[in-house]
Amino acid sequence: MRGVLIADFDPAAPYRLDPRVALRDEPFGALAYHYGSRRLSFLRSPELVEVLRCLERHTSAAAAVDSVVALPDRERHLRALAALVRSEMVVPG
């Protein structure tokens, strides 16, 4: 799994939310809808939503994650970002 993760996604590189993705806040986190692919994702943590909202202001995905969550939660959020990169919700910045 890690190999795949590193191949698709580099935590040290900049990323941003695809401009065609809209976020809608929900009690469990948010809904993300990609107007291009018509894909709907459930973002299951408010922190992840915060990371996505500030992603493009940071020089790397890891920096964006670190600005929102503490170290123990870092890996989990990076994995979530990697999944969003694979589904093309998040694109290289």
Partner: protein, 408 residues
């Protein structure tokens, strides 16, 4: 999907994820299984200004897209105006059409519009099978529409098929037909509402065919279903999708006169939550109507409680139960373990008893009370259903249901 997320969705969201909007009851075809019993336009249908206001409200609620149907939505003269306003407001549109009004010029206009999906309805791989349900000439008309779309370069339009006993053996042929157009195949479940109520028992897939359909779908995750077959998930691995009933929780329906119904497939008084014409508008109905609230409350699994498949099937579809006269807490009429058939037989017997007694069968009425009041005991478990229900199929306006209706 995590249990916590399922629970959050079952409690309902502040706005639907998507909704179905029947723009008109007018239709130039008269399909035997039409869920909205469409034919003639209703003089009270929403005006252009009212429809525009609904779109503005949906945009304000961040509803990502609407599934527009009817009737045949394209016969409204303001159809393209409404679509363009929705898309420009960030509300994507997926609309269903029988294809009869498609021209080369319209196909080009559609192909040039972003955030727009078109679904052409087709209920068989050949004219004989399709036209038996949809009327003479409808197969040729749908194919012509597909030709126009393909020629205009509209990539990935959808071919939407209601699965029946008579076209189930044509799934491969339908898949090939879609592939030939660069289109996507979409299959939906035949629900016994509207005109389909009268012919459902002869038309719905047999028990063997349900198994065949499940296997076919499991092997083809790319075929769209709008989650409508999640009752088949009781046969093994779950089908892709949310696998829960979205009625009043994440989906709903607006009918041509602006009435709001909890489920995209139950255009029946019992499930009417209010009207977009009322003071609080659509948002008020969605958030505050007692019916919507009751659907977000925990309910009992009823006779499904002892079923080992309940976690994946969750008792199936409320609409299918409603229109076949089954208790809402209990098995789907097409339960893959055969409980639905038994329940149908029992409900039939109850009906007769009720007729003799001159009143409604008590057991069935209790279930209705549970839905209306959201008071069912056994709070931990919830009812079942499915979420996306985008789809071309529609609702019954004047359904023939054996479910007892109060005061009539």
């Amino acid at each position: 999907m995590s249990a916590a997320l399922v629970e959050a969705l079952e409690r309902g969201l502040d706005a639907p994820i998507c909704l179905t909007w029947e723009l008109t009851y007018g239709c130039n075809l008269a399909c035997a299984h039409c869920l909205s019993s469409s034919g003639r336009r209703d003089p009270a249908e929403l005006s252009t200004a009212e429809a525009m206001a609904v779109i503005d409200e949906l945009a304000a609620m961040s509803v990502f897209y609407v599934n527009i149907g009817g009737g045949e939505p394209t016969i409204r003269s303001d159809f393209y105006e409404l679509v363009e306003h929705a898309v420009a407001s960030g509300v994507g549109v997926k609309f269903s059409t029988n294809g009869t009004t498609m021209t080369a010029a319209r196909a080009r206009r559609l192909a040039a519009t972003d955030y727009l999906d078109v679904q052409v309805s087709l209920d068989g791989a050949d004219a004989a099978t399709n036209d038996a349900l949809r009327g003479a000439g409808s197969f040729a008309a749908a194919r012509r529409a597909m030709d126009h779309l393909a020629t205009a370069g509209f990539e990935g339009f959808k071919i939407s098929v209601v699965v029946t006993r008579h076209n189930l053996h044509q799934l491969d042929a339908l898949e090939a037909l879609a592939a030939g157009y660069g289109a996507q195949l979409r299959l939906t479940r035949l629900r016994p509402s509207g005109r389909a109520a009268a012919i459902w028992s002869e038309l719905h897939p047999t028990a063997d065919q349900q198994v065949e359909l499940y296997r076919w779908l499991v092997a083809r995750p790319g075929v769209l279903t709008g989650d409508s077959f999640f009752h088949l998930s009781a046969l093994g691995d779950p089908l892709p999708g949310l696998n829960l009933c979205g009625a009043g929780r994440v989906v709903c329906l607006i009918d041509p006169v602006g009435d709001v119904y909890a489920c995209p497939f139950v255009l029946h008084e019992q499930f009417r939550a209010g009207s977009v014409r009322s003071h609080g508008g659509f948002a008020g109905v969605w958030r505050d109507s007692p019916l919507m609230r009751s659907l977000r409350a925990p309910t009992s699994p009823g006779a499904c409680g002892s079923c080992g498949s309940y976690d994946s099937c969750r008792g199936g579809c409320m609409a299918a139960k409603f229109f076949t006269g089954l208790p809402l807490a209990g098995p789907d009429p097409e339960c893959v373990h055969g409980l639905g058939a038994a329940a149908l037989a029992a409900a039939g017997a109850q009906d007769e008893r009720a007729a003799v007694a001159g009143g409604a069968a008590a057991g069935v009425q209790d279930e209705r009370a549970a839905v209306a009041g959201g008071t069912a005991a056994g709070a931990a478990e919830r009812r079942a259903g499915s979420p996306d229900h985008s789809t071309p199929v529609r609702i019954s306006r004047h359904p023939r249901t054996r479910w007892p209706t109060s005061g009539r």
